[in-house]
Symmetry: C2
């Protein structure tokens, strides 16, 4: 446990409804609270650092607590709630989430001023620090998807008494070497943009490439089957405007530093499956190019208490965001197991 | 037929052995000749242009003539010969090729000063112009791999009386939409480098990305399974030095214009399989990410006289360069069929 010191601050953005503050009984069935925990963490690669961990806690106090974590573009805002009516990154699972109390954080290095190599273990420790500060001793489950699943595996290995079970969707005990190589190219695109003093250009282009790995050739063949056209003297593929829109959207979400550091963090991740001793439910997508089902099968076999569900999808790695019904069913099965 | 005018010039680099010049009986079993054909072609997108087509013809005059064409990085130098002892791009098939007379060209737009949208149909017409100039009426077969297979399909559709059969390895009647999108990102990386006035930087990085699509996750998992390391403050993936070497090698092969135009040409390619009326032998690689076997199966089904062989390989799209024995066997079967 790398938590050196923690001081809980109810920030100005903290409680929406004073009656719903920590330690008091909720007035409503669903309540939401936000805050920033300023504390000191011993980071795996970057040493002891003061950090500011932005968290959001949503749902009635008596509901089973879930720690929820998504991909590198996910935030603490998982779904719309009383504190923030805007859609969350996992809005598609709002029905499932509504039956729980949900805790989530913004990733370390994501717009918090930290620019250092960050490990999935650091993110896990940050979540543990928030649990401490909120006096939440144990979660019913950690539900992680993509990078969030990697963080969940670290959390289970480092803080096994803080959770009853782990659900890992499309995230394994190590990055796949081909996927790591693809992310290294993405980071070099960001760096090429930085050289150009045009961070946004590089970042948007890196995100376009990332999208090609989040989805599948099959989906592209169905959506973008028109012939390539010539515009002036330049060939334009039918998927280009979609990819460019994805790239532009990333600019509203990330700065170049956050993107590079979180991308790097996926590649630095490595945990021994044997060290994940809580009951583990692994969910794999058959078409995932980044996290092949073979790697998730290996995780399931090597972890002491694990089982594997495989979902068929055309959406590849992004299926956790797109296959609403299948993911909800798999989550329910995982938590009922 | 878009050949407007052709004039054959035996350039200074043409015949190595005067006795082996066109129309004379060869002294040796294997002879080789090079030249540059300057002619005018009506290009599909770029209009009527004067072009310089660099060709190489190798093998005894009585041997069956093969037109051989490879990927966008292939050249007219297919294998080592008396004219040029350096290894060719298909040196691995030298044993198979030795039994034939082999004609190949350098692609239009590849270092010939042409900077315009180029179509696979233009390359096919360039090859037909060379056949005319060399008074070669008909080839035993056109053997094309990757982009060369696309050009072969165009050649068969446009010049069916110039060949007895076509062998298309890992190249289909259209680019796959996902692969086109990936190439569009590569071209944008090249453009980002050009903005930076550092063409080599962008080109090398684009080539790194291309390599990830030429090979497979399976091969990367076997070769680059070591953990990602931190060098200073930066994560370095085990595949990075390999990819960087591939990128640097591309700089000795391409300039940015050639790379962009030939990449674009793959995406502009489209031919109706029904228009390919010569006997067609299609060779697919089961692990090819760029040209999925499903697309080659569709080509085989729709073309009037076609059959399909599928090769299992860990090398994906690059299998035509790497699976020496399996490709040789498939080529022999195709030509014997």
């Amino acid at each position: 446990m790398s938590l050196v010191a923690a001081s809980f601050q109810a920030s100005s953005e903290s409680a929406i409804d004073p009656a719903c503050r920590l330690g008091e009984a909720p007035l409503h069935e669903t309540v939401a609270e936000r805050g920033v925990l300023r504390c000191t963490l011993a980071l795996r690669h970057a040493g002891v650092r003061d950090v500011a961990i932005r968290w959001e806690l949503c749902g009635p106090a008596h509901a089973p607590l879930l720690i929820v974590a998504g991909g590198i573009s996910a935030t603490r805002h998982v779904a719309a709630n009383e504190a923030d009516a805007s859609e969350g990154w996992w809005q598609s699972q709002a029905s499932f989430l509504r039956r729980h109390r949900v805790l989530a954080i913004d990733w370390l290095c994501d717009g918090d001023g930290l620019d250092a190599p960050i490990d999935s273990a650091d993110q896990a420790d940050a979540i543990a620090a928030v649990l401490d500060a909120l006096h939440l001793s144990k979660a019913r489950a950690f539900v992680g998807a993509s990078y969030g699943a990697m963080v969940g595996l670290q959390f289970a290995a480092r803080h096994p008494r803080r959770l009853e079970s782990l659900v890992a969707i499309s995230g394994a005990h190590r990055p796949h070497p081909w996927a790591s190589a693809l992310r290294s190219v993405q980071r070099k695109i960001v760096e090429l943009g930085e050289l150009q003093c045009d961070d946004g250009h590089g970042l948007a282009l890196a995100r376009q490439l990332a999208m090609l790995s989040y989805r599948t050739p099959k989906e592209f063949a169905e959506r973008f089957n028109a012939p390539v056209s010539l515009e002036g003297e330049r060939a334009v593929c039918p998927a280009e405007s979609y990819l460019e829109a994805c790239g532009q959207r990333a600019l509203t979400r990330f700065d170049a530093t956050a993107y590079r550091r979180l991308s790097e963090s996926i590649d630095l991740h490595r945990v021994e499956p044997e060290a994940v001793c809580v009951p583990l439910s692994v969910i794999a997508i058959d078409s995932d190019q980044l996290v092949p089902r073979e790697d998730l099968a290996e995780l399931s076999v090597r972890a002491p208490d694990a089982w594997l569900q495989v979902i068929a999808s055309r959406y590849g790695h992004d299926a956790f965001l797109k296959e609403t019904a299948a993911i909800a069913a798999a989550l329910t099965a995982a938590l009922d197991a």
